[in-house]
């Protein structure tokens, strides 16, 4: 019961602030609502007992990336941006895509209801004590079965970082 209340609480915040993020004119307001969306998603992770994911989401996305976002946005002249047309002429494409996505989600829900033993909603959340320590479990899978993809991802990040340094440097 409490789990459901917590889930719907965070889900409502996430969806609501995602909507607000798109519709606000001021970029700083949008960034704030993006932050609340990310925080609410982190809350859902916590409700699922994924503590490590919860805190990593907060440290990386909210504490790191969003701070840099706001940092950049603050330097931009917002008055100019506010006067531009907010929605470009992609209304109909967007509508079609949204309908397609809605159809997909609907089909998934409809089929999931038919599968034996699996209702629409997630199964009961396991008790916190029955789970292995989160951080250790993540580390085991990162450095075990997913070693290669992990290394590829870190290599990509390294390349991006070196690229940024090269571009930022005036003269080599």
């Amino acid at each position: 019961m409490l789990d459901k209340v917590i889930f719907y609480f965070f889900a409502a915040i996430a969806v609501g602030s995602a909507l607000l993020m798109i519709t606000r004119r001021s970029a700083v307001h949008s960034a704030i609502f993006l932050t609340t969306t990310l925080l609410a998603t982190a809350g859902i992770f916590l409700q699922l007992r994924a503590e490590f994911l919860f805190i990593v989401q907060i440290i990386l996305y909210v504490g790191g990336i969003m701070v840099l976002f706001i940092f950049v946005i603050m330097l931009v002249n917002l008055d100019v941006a506010a006067q531009q047309i907010q929605y470009s002429r992609q209304k109909w494409v967007a509508l079609a895509l949204a309908l397609a996505l809605a159809g997909q989600v609907g089909a998934m829900l409809w089929r999931a209801g038919k599968l034996p033993g699996q209702g629409l909603l997630v199964r009961g959340v396991p008790a916190a004590e029955s789970l292995p320590p989160n951080a250790e479990a993540v580390a085991r899978s990162l450095f075990g079965p997913y070693m290669l993809s992990f290394e590829i991802a870190s290599l990509l990040l390294l390349v991006a970082m070196i690229g940024a340094v090269v571009m930022a440097k005036k003269k080599v």
């Binding site: 490590f52 440290i59 701070v67 706001i70 603050m74 320590p133």
Partner: protein
């Protein structure tokens, strides 16, 4: 009716949420008071270092100054700039305060006093949530719609992002030694190994000390609020209650970083020489009580010398408070029935003492060192602290592998890798000194050329 009430009371008491909620309320209620008195202590320490007396008027030795200040701040007019972004302007200080207080949730003030007891990622939680406080600073600075505020906010964001890496790496060194992210497990590991991690990883502690000063925007790294350049930085446009919220957030953050450093590097709630028992152990257990009795005695000695009757009374009351605390600390040592309270009370005492010591270190540095220039601050972070902290983590990793796989003595392995880290740090410092020398010569040459 009363029966139902009793049942309800029983259910509430049996609920696992009751105690954490009470602790939480206590922390939220007490923190502003504690912050106020930390400010008083800071002013007194500053006065002492500058050979002055500091606040003396309100209460004996200025003991009631924080309360007077609080009343003043609450009654001040709350000014909102005309062109400010009103909602964000209102919200920003709240974000800072909330982050600072929330970060205290998993902190264990003694083994008995911990709100979020079995959160698996305790240390990460504290570090991550407290870093959200930057939002309050950045948004407040932006929403004020003032150049000084914006500059302060920008500086603060840049500074935090730069120093968080170093602080995180320093924490990782401690976590590697402790083998867990859980606060309780970290402290218990230090009890088991019989040594505080500051002795095993001194470089990491030093890096964390420097980085945490930068993260809390304290002098000598208080560039976001540098009064000689930016008026008051991000809080320039704030007044009254909202301004005091920023202040509260700053002091809450100091307590948070102090708690983290205490938990990881200074043995948390452990007594010094936690492993020592017998007569020496009892003597050490008596130390806190004896200390407070001494303070109480001094207060009584000073009481008759106060100028006004009210001040005499307050002085005696303070003495009584100290004596009561001393009794609470001594009772579990000598009375067998009260023995169960001992870990909780003594743990809290030692923990708070260590956090207090850490904060005192902050003040000491603040009144000793001049403020850094912004480029110096950035160079210190990126060219010195981050490389050294990465090398340090690698060194501790190597030492632990040597210890576990090759059976080398842990202290020896760690000593060797610490020397390696210090060598790297030495090379970096030399390079920096050389660069400065070149810059100075270049500047001198220019002057002559001109």
């Amino acid at each position: 009716m009363t029966h139902g009430l009793q049942e309800l009371l029983k259910a509430v008491l049996a609920s696992p949420y009751t105690l954490p909620v009470i602790y939480g309320v206590v922390i939220v209620a007490v923190l502003p008071l504690v912050a106020g008195y930390v400010v008083l202590v800071e002013r007194k320490v500053m006065a002492d270092m500058q050979a002055r007396l500091g606040p003396m008027r309100v209460g004996p030795h200025g003991l009631l100054q924080p309360i007077a200040d609080a009343v003043k701040l609450l009654l001040k007019e709350d000014i909102i700039p005309e062109k400010a972004d009103v909602w964000i302007f209102w919200l920003a200080p709240l974000v800072s305060v909330t982050a600072g207080m929330l970060a205290l949730a998993p902190v264990g003030i003694g083994p008995a006093f911990q709100i979020a007891r079995d959160i698996n990622v305790g240390i990460l939680f504290v570090a991550g949530i407290s870093s959200l406080g930057i939002f309050g600073i950045v948004l407040g600075g932006w929403a004020s719609n003032s150049h000084y505020s914006l500059m302060g906010a920008l500086r603060s964001a840049a500074q935090l992002v730069s120093y968080e890496t170093a602080a995180g790496m320093a924490l990782v060194s401690g976590l590697l030694l402790g083998g867990s992210l859980q606060i309780r497990a970290l402290v218990e590991e230090q009890a088991k190994q019989g040594v505080w991690f500051v002795a095993l990883a001194p470089v990491a502690f030093f890096i964390y000390l420097v980085a945490s000063i930068a993260e809390t925007n304290r002098a000598p790294f208080d560039l976001p609020e540098a009064e000689s350049e930016l008026v008051a930085g991000y809080m320039t446009e704030y007044s009254g209650f909202r301004w005091s919220l920023y202040f509260l957030a700053e002091y809450a953050n100091m307590m948070v970083v102090g708690s983290v450093a205490t938990t990881i590097f200074l043995g948390g709630w452990l007594r010094p020489f936690a492993g020592v028992g017998g007569a020496a152990g009892t003597a050490l257990d008596c130390l806190p009580g004896a200390l407070l009795l001494g303070v109480a005695g001094y207060c009584l000695y000073r009481a008759p010398k106060q100028p006004v009757a009210v001040q005499k009374l307050v002085m005696v009351a303070v003495a009584g408070l100290c004596a009561a605390l001393a009794a609470a600390l001594l009772a579990p040592v000598f009375v067998a029935q009260a023995l169960w309270m001992k870990p909780g009370i003594h743990g809290a005492f030692w923990f708070l003492l260590k956090v207090g010591g850490y904060i005192y270190l902050f003040m000491w540095l603040r009144f000793t060192l001049p403020r850094y220039r912004f480029d110096q601050l950035m160079r210190l972070g990126w060219y010195f602290l981050i490389p050294v902290s990465i090398v340090n983590v690698m060194g501790i990793g190597i030492a632990l592998v040597l210890h576990w796989e090759r059976g080398m003595h842990l202290a020896l392995a760690l000593g060797l890798t610490t020397l390696m880290t210090l060598a790297v740090a030495g090379v970096l410092v030399r390079a920096e000194l050389k660069r400065e020398e070149q810059l100075r010569q270049g500047a001198a040459g220019d002057a002559y050329a001109g």
